[in-house]
Symmetry: C2
């Protein structure tokens, strides 16, 4: 239907959705709102704009041009926020390197993404020292340094970030270009195989920002983000744009706080001192924060926290709620920019008991605007929305990676049949709330019946003796698989009695019909610690290798 496309008069401005436009609103409405980095730096949106321009000039002087790739290895900082804008606004690609990968994996991603320039925090120079001489693509290094003196390193540094900015002009005319220009790239931290690169365009990031703000700002009260909130990420900025929230916070002109390296007591101090009201993190970090003695001393009752990256257990949810924290689940993955769903409560749900509210807060949530989310069975049909029937989550939204970088086969598998396959198994209840029960590859099949390891983990986590738990499937001749619980205990003690205690605890749930009877086949093994991936998720592949 070419003749029904709108015609554009010659002089009309063709408005491409570009990251630079996210800055218009805060600069017009709230330019003096604060942006804070630890106790080291305070600026505002005017400063942000000025430093983005300086950075663009500095990078241009280092030879960066449209289409080049600029990599960053830093903690969460105002500098990182500046890179979130300046690099894509130049038409270049921002590669947010996962600093928790092994040096060999980091080398692989630098090579694979064909990075041209690397901005690196002095703390990470030792990683670079291990792989130097084998990096083919990098043409320059910029040092990010919080210390007064320069670190010792054999890396040929082109300049220190603040010095380069100080030398650079405060104005830069950012060009217009196609909104489908690649803006960011990073690598999925899968538990098997080589890291896979995902990538997002300016258009995708702008639309993700609008979708996220629309979903977070519209609820009446619970889990609501508004213009007076103070935002601090506790999911690394290298990890799926810190869930895109730095872009959303900027569009809304919020006060933003960047905490540097994640040290629990330092995070708590920042929450207290800067009056942080909105964050997001994985369950592990929240657990660490809550068990700090400092958490008892500060008021967390104005703090709203989205939990993602791993399932939120009811036990942790209730513990956070007891502290007054407005906690709820968000869901997404590297391939999805990331946010797909949020588990907000509706106002009527506040009449429910705290326990019942926690169940909803721990759900995966309801889809964001523009997200077309289906839970499908193996034939591709939608499962009934009965809270029980499960299938794989497949999605279409305007902000999904359109493939894996230079990996046609994996790209086609991801997008099989025109839907992005999440590999997450879920059900949908009558109110439309999605609940992930497991990853397709992690599900346990006992005697022909699928058992959710997440559900079983959640039950065991409630057992008073248990500090942490992960469940994997142990091959079994008779049953196919049996559940094996790897348990970190709160206190040392006799193992046999402790195991019996856990088994009895679980039996209460099976007897009440709250989980399949098959789980009485549970075995328990006590371990020192549970292996995690670089982003803090339980690494079930590693656990299986180690314990099976």
């Amino acid at each position: 239907m070419p003749d029904s496309l709108i015609s554009r008069t010659d002089s009309a401005y063709s408005y491409q959705l570009l990251i630079k436009q996210l800055l218009y609103a805060p600069l017009a409405n709230n330019p003096e709102q604060e942006i804070v980095y630890r106790d080291q730096w305070r600026g505002n949106y005017l400063t942000l704009r000025e430093r983005i321009c300086r950075l663009a000039n500095a990078l241009t002087r280092l030879g960066v041009k449209a289409g080049d790739t600029v990599a960053v290895m830093d903690y969460d900082s105002h500098r990182y926020l500046e890179c979130f804008f300046a690099v894509p606004m130049l038409g270049a690609v921002l590669h947010t390197i996962n600093v928790r990968l092994s040096p060999e994996q980091i080398l692989y991603t630098i090579d694979h993404a064909e990075d041209d320039i690397l901005l690196i925090n002095s703390d990470f120079l030792p990683i670079l020292d291990q792989i130097k001489g084998r990096i083919d693509t990098l043409k320059g290094y910029v040092l990010l340094n919080d210390e007064a003196q320069s670190p010792h390193s054999s890396i040929p540094i082109a300049g220190e970030y603040e010095e380069l900015l100080a030398e650079s002009d405060t104005h830069f005319e950012f060009p217009d270009f196609d909104e489908n220009t690649r803006a960011t790239t990073f690598y999925t931290t899968g538990t098997t195989g080589l890291p896979k690169g995902v990538y997002f365009s300016h258009r995708q990031l702008v639309l993700h920002t609008l979708g996220v703000v629309t979903a977070l700002a519209t609820p009446l009260s619970q889990g609501r983000l508004h213009r007076q909130d103070v935002y601090m990420p506790i999911t690394p900025m290298f990890h799926v744009h810190a869930w895109g929230l730095p872009y959303a916070a900027t569009l809304m002109g919020l006060k933003q706080v960047y905490p540097g390296r994640y040290v629990p007591d330092h995070l708590l101090e920042l929450i207290d001192r800067e009056q942080v009201t909105f964050s997001h993190c994985v369950p592990t970090i929240l657990h660490m924060l809550l068990k700090s003695p400092l958490a008892e001393k500060i008021d967390l009752s104005r703090w709203k926290v989205i939990i993602g990256g791993a399932g939120l257990s009811k036990a942790l949810c209730l513990e956070a709620m007891r502290k007054g924290i407005d906690i709820f689940t968000g869901y997404g993955m590297s391939e999805t920019c990331p946010i797909l769903t949020l588990a907000h409560l509706t106002p009527e749900m506040f009449d429910l008991s705290v326990e019942e509210q926690a169940v909803i807060r721990c759900k995966t949530g309801v889809p964001l605007p523009l997200v077309q989310l289906r839970v499908v069975n193996e034939q591709g049909g939608d499962v009934p929305h009965d809270g029980r029937s499960s299938g794989e989550i497949v999605v279409r939204t305007p902000w999904l990676t359109q493939g894996y970088l230079k990996d046609h086969r994996a790209s086609e598998k991801l997008w099989d049949g025109g839907w992005l396959h999440t590999s997450d198994v879920a059900n949908v209840d009558g109110r439309g709330y999605v609940k992930i029960t497991d990853r397709t590859k992690d599900v346990i099949k006992i005697g022909g019946e699928w058992i959710s390891t997440l559900e079983l983990e959640d039950i065991i986590a409630h057992c008073p003796a248990v500090a942490e738990v992960a469940v994997i499937g142990q091959p079994d001749d008779r049953w196919g698989e049996r559940p094996l619980a790897l348990v970190v205990r709160r206190e040392e003690g006799e193992e046999k009695a402790a195991e019996k205690g856990i088994l009895n605890f679980v039996r209460e749930y099976t007897e009440k019909g709250m989980i399949s009877k098959q789980v009485v086949l549970l075995k328990v093994r006590f371990v020192e610690a549970i292996d995690k991936t670089s982003v803090g998720k339980v690494n079930k592949v590693a656990l299986r290798e180690k314990y099976l």
Copy 2:
């Protein structure tokens, strides 16, 4: 930079921004929320989807195909909402006819837009009777009828809306197509010349919806739209998509109330009965509502109202505030989809006096996200943001008409230099609030000095004896122009004394330096009524013709 565009793997879904996607969120999250039409019809989002499908089937049976134009002449109704979706979702164009135009003008717009099918409320058949036989393009008529019996008319009706829907299937597979496909068309109700057609694509309407929700949902409290609000338009749906709010309300899954013809007491009854909390209207309608005795009897203290289409006077603003109404200004025009700015208060401003708050609520406002708004002098340079220096508002946003339909010269003039020219003269204060002082063509030049007729009107409106006022410029040999105030009085009485009262009233403001001394040249003329355009704006062109 073609090589830096993101690559899309063969199977990936190319997500075009289409109006149908606005329905995903309410259907997933809140399908049983109500949609109400007067006391005649109640449905919900499931019904809405079903009726959209039925309408699409009915229109297809009438021969409507992608690229065709479907025109509507109706009051604000659930049927109109269904057309807002079904027609563009078919790939056809929705022409929202301004029913307040003269029959000759309506004929002109039907011909000019090349309408194929017309859906017409029985109330408007007499208009059609006046122009029938001269309509070349229309191939079919669908009747919209609230009455039990069919009206008498010689128009060849293909069917009645409800009957056609009842005969149609409840499923329709809406196709994907290019997001730049034209979705809507309507005509500017200018006060001079022939109506000019503007047009908007699916992409533009989706982005406008996201921009509007983002701007309305994010404030802490004042003027905030949230998921528990109940929405009722009081700006006609034919007028710039009722400011796009029906799309925004649908995306958010709000309860929606459609009032039919605007009868003040009926509107008040609906606000009361359906617990309406969010509306938008022109000052004239609000004035009519507030002066109804019924307004004294019902609680308006939960009602949030955006005022647009004409400047909000401080007097009307204060009157509304006294009733507890959360009133504030929105700004836009037919060419801009429409919303560009909103005059929200920041939380600190609640410390100001009521009078001072009213001044801000009457400002034009701050730009929405993604809106690049400049106030420029005749050389195209930005004026200082000092609240005094004035210039023309020019804009770039993703939701501006890309021209006037089949009018190259006017299109190029509108987009001169790559910015959409609003012809509105404004200043910007130090906090970024824009304030329109006049239309470029309506400004009065007294002794070489520009005077804002809006400011002068606002002062005169505060005079107790004045019910309504419009100021125009009267040619004057000595001064160039002198201000002439056309005044509708509250009570009859001796004209000479009344004029003196007004002149003395204005003099107090000039003596305090609140407006230029030049306005003491004011003349007053008492009139029965002030001429309005079809959308309720003061028609200064008509006033000049009549009184000069």
